[in-house]
Subunit: 602 residues, 2 copies
């Protein structure tokens, strides 16, 4: 079993060399922290990843949660993981001091542990990660009483938090939610309805489950304008602090392809008309509130996908170094010793593919993390700008790592040949685990429509303009470096393609309406994503090139040269993929809009 | 659970409309048969697929083979399936009458059942399929005694046949095989060695296992020139017909991602120095003999991948028709009823992707099947030409369906959203099952080197010239049809790209040697494969266009229009992918050859 699952060296590069995460320290919110604190957090997370999460990677998959007599039994170590996450301060990492938090930047307090724990054992990292997200909604929008009631136990890892959106008749279509809240004179609401696919929606590793649920108040307006956010605990808290049933019942769990260590549940609220929920914030504003958690969850999904791909990369790299097979094509002597397969160009190509996806995705995700942090500490237009950049890039940072993670883990599996297909090696599990990510928290199709139909258009295209300015900044920097100038020019031409394609599609929107406009939004997302990762690779190459000029030590020389070859790989093999996509996007004939469904019949 | 797994209508289209399979009947070898016989075989295979194979699809996955005290226990119905395959004549379908066969063309006797049974339940179809391949080697190269001894029981489905190549130190590198045969004065050889990853290498559904194994005779020349083909039975046949142990022991089975219904075994030969093997044909010619079975197996792999993708396509099509979710983008009323997701352009795009991969791959595979049949009944240069076409297209027909099958099943899974990730629907299993195909019978990397390094060069490029002539013929036909002319022109330009890229790479071969030449052979294979499928889609569109002019009935109108839109899809969305690949292949800088392995370190 491969030991390494993520590169600490690379994380430091992303945080302190490629980006100036330390600059956050100058804002009052983070003023108590220091580089030393950040490094300590990184070290601690790496140690926990290695010692707590990774050893359970296979076991939590093989001993998946079971549904027994209405109860969900998870791996016995889940309780311990939740408590350690609580005690270590990981659940409240970004919350303000006065709510028991550590007031850390997102980039340090969430990005690092999510990446590291997720690379070590994604399923195990989901429990407290979801609790952080759910508690975050209470921090942002809950009443003082809610904060007092729920946060301490959630932050301690004793109570599980969830986000409960999906219903049987409403998966991607939140407008069709029907779970209903009926007001009572006691202040609470009576809840009735069903939720599906709720991650960690019930399990015996926590003493209570706190659902942050989207619910329609009786007689609310139809559609998304009538959706409210509720807290619905599995067990109600009595005056004396003891717990009693709140008529939330788990009707079953799903048996899944991967991500098996965490239970995905079906829940029934109020089957006995005794389920109470408490309105968070104002009525009918639930979707807007939920998007705080949802946006965070989308970044987390991209991060998890990149980090599962990271574990796959290191596992296949280790195998490629150790497995002798075949000879160099220039060696014809069958009696000469076989070479490790890393000597074969095609294997190196596959490894570079993995490396470029993993490290390119992580760079984009750190970029998003920093935008989020800066949004929280800046004011006025500056704040709005960071918000716009984050909004624009969220669908990309969610989907590129998720979609490419499938291919990246698949290439990793391929490097191991027959062994990759077998349970004796971790690749097959990583390949199964990563497949959830283009689905949950909004499918890739939804992200494509979000990017092209909403984000590119919002504030008259201001987000897009801010983004392109960032990309052009990177291009200018790279153009000063003779070695990187060809890549800078290639990216410049890609940006011109992006503008041309976007203008073409906006023209279709104006002339032919939303269906024709968005028919190939998924391809647009792919096209946009490749260019965004190329941007991050150029930034990395500029940074590595400068570092190489400073005569670093041998290990750093290899590290920086690794960045240079991965950038060359990306510009040689990945960026050209935009050509085919541009052809399609510029010549769309509305085939998928106009064809008849009967043509699928035969 | 979706009922449909393959389209009988489409199979008939491929056999009788797109291609003139009936023309085989004019050759003496097939003269006893008729269109009615072919149709009966198709009907019977469809019925068996539906009634025998499909009902066990999930069960054979969930109750995977177990290794218990040195024995492999498979699903109890395997024995029945093997016997029914034997009784139905499926194992000996293509063998000559005098050996108990039905002398059917490959296209009818192997393609149809492999496709249909494979789409219904790939694991279950492997047992007798392998037996057909192994028995075929005995038919072609075995002595009369071998034929008498082994064929009747294998053809009856009582004994399992295998191909045993891989060893612990020799996966893709057959030159490094070390299993050894030592001659004895009794005529047999003593065998000693280990084989890995042997499909159906041991199980209790057959009374004996007949291994067709590659073995090195003691003191044979090193490398592939010293490899011989042996029959090594699990149990030796005594004079009285009873069986005794032949010291072939199963050391274990692999636990796999998918394809779980068939056991993949580790075998030890001669641990007690009592394993006997019999040389097939001449010494040291084993690899050439084995390539008969291997080439057939490669086509079978492509076929299996296309057919697993077919099952995925119909399962997601059924779901897309039935699942209401969301509304047309032009409908803003949240109280209007939801529409089935097939109404969404992005879902139709995913379905067209699946359809174009499945039916494009099947068309190429039928083409290969016909070349194989024609090779067997023609003479002289005509025969050589069919052989060259088949040789050239085999790596493509193996790899395109296998690699694209992963993406196709993944898109199918995506259409189902969260349900696609769950075991309650067949997509997740199909997604697991299909993943084996780019690995076994020669990885995609091996196929790429085979295509570019061997097949494109053999006979001074004659195979490539023959192939391009076939493609040009299709282009000319399509250019006569105004509707199809744009596609014909697009394919003509793709062929020009193919020639340019090929010439460029041959130039590199001459100037820079094999490593630089073959560094991106896998990309060349992908590039070549897309164009080959485009060729088959143009042929299908020409054929469908002509049929539409004859005022067919409503169901046929939909069928042929389905072909037209899938062709449009392929030319709009898939064929443009060659642009990015061409850029890479024309500008290869040898990155993967020249980079240092240390750069992966960090």
């Amino acid at each position: 079993m491969a030991e390494k699952f993520i590169s600490e060296r690379n994380l430091k590069f992303l945080l302190y060399e490629l980006n100036d995460t330390e600059s956050l320290l100058r804002y009052p919110r983070y003023a108590d922290h220091s580089r030393e604190v950040f490094d300590m957090i990184l070290d601690t997370a790496m140690r926990m990843g290695k010692d707590l999460f990774k050893p359970l990677f296979e076991e939590m998959d093989r001993k998946a949660p079971e549904y027994v007599k209405g109860e969900v039994k998870v791996h016995p170590r889940v309780r311990d993981i939740m408590r350690q996450a609580g005690e270590g301060g990981w659940i409240a990492s970004t919350f303000p001091y006065d709510l028991g938090g550590q007031q850390l930047p997102f980039t340090i307090g969430v990005f690092l542990p999510t990446a590291i724990f997720g690379a070590a054992n994604y399923s195990a990292a989901v429990y407290h990660g979801l609790t952080h997200g759910a508690a975050g909604l209470i921090v942002s929008y809950g009443s003082q009483e809610m904060k007092d009631t729920y946060l301490p136990k959630m932050i301690a890892g004793e109570w599980q938090g969830t986000m409960a959106l999906t219903e049987p008749q409403a998966g991607s279509s939140l407008t069709d939610l029907t779970t209903t809240a009926t007001p009572t004179e006691e202040g609470y609401y009576k809840i009735r309805g069903q939720k599906l696919f709720i991650s960690a929606g019930d399990h015996d590793g926590a003493d209570n489950i706190i659902h942050l649920a989207l619910v329609r108040i009786k007689d609310a307006p139809p559609g998304i304008k009538g959706i409210s956010l509720f807290i619905i605990p599995k067990k109600r808290i009595k005056e004396d602090g003891s717990l009693e049933s709140n008529d939330v019942n788990c009707a079953g769990i799903y048996h899944k392809l991967g991500y098996r260590g965490a239970p995905i549940t079906q829940l029934a609220f109020g089957e006995n008309d005794d389920c109470r929920g408490w309105l968070v914030g104002e009525a009918n504003k639930g979707l807007a509130y939920m998007f705080q958690m949802m946006n965070g969850a989308r970044i987390d999904v991209g991060l998890a996908a990149a980090c599962i791909s990271s574990a796959a990369y290191y596992a296949s790299l280790e195998y490629a170094r150790e497995r002798p097979q075949g000879r160099k094509l220039t060696s014809k002597d069958p009696l000469s010793p076989q070479v490790p397969i890393i000597e074969h160009a095609d294997v190196r190509r596959m490894l570079l593919f993995q490396k470029s996806i993993v490290e390119g995705s992580l760079a984009l995700l750190v970029q998003c993390g920093l935008y989020e942090d800066l949004e929280h500490v800046t004011e006025g237009e500056e704040r709005e700008n960071y918000n716009l950049l984050l909004e624009l890039l969220t669908p990309v940072a969610k989907s590129y790592p998720a979609e490419m993670g499938i291919l990246s883990c698949s290439q990793g599996l391929q490097i191991l040949g027959g062994y990759g297909f077998c349970e004796e090696f971790p690749l097959e599990q990583l390949y199964r685990d990563v497949r959830i990510h283009p689905i949950h928290e909004g499918t890739t199709g939804i992200q494509g429509m979000d990017l092209l139909g909403r984000k590119m258009m919002m504030k008259k295209g201001k987000a897009a303009q801010l983004y392109l300015a960032e990309v052009r900044k990177a291009i200018r920097e790279a153009q000063d470096d003779m070695q990187l100038k060809p890549f800078a020019d290639q990216l410049q031409s890609a940006v011109a393609q992006l503008e041309k394609v976007t203008a073409h599609l906006f023209g279709i929107a104006a002339k032919e309406g939303p269906e024709m406009f968005l028919a190939d939004a998924t391809l647009y997302l792919e096209f946009f994503g490749i260019i965004a990762i190329a941007w991050q690779w150029l930034r990395q190459a500029v940074c590595a090139g400068k570092a190489l000029q400073k005569n670093p030590g041998e290990s750093d020389v290899n590290f920086y040269n690794g960045k240079m070859v991965a950038c060359r790989y990306f510009y040689g093999y990945e960026l050209p993929k935009i050509e085919g996509l541009a052809i399609r996007l510029l010549s769309g004939d509305g085939l998928t809009v106009t064809m008849k469904n009967e043509y699928f019949e035969d």
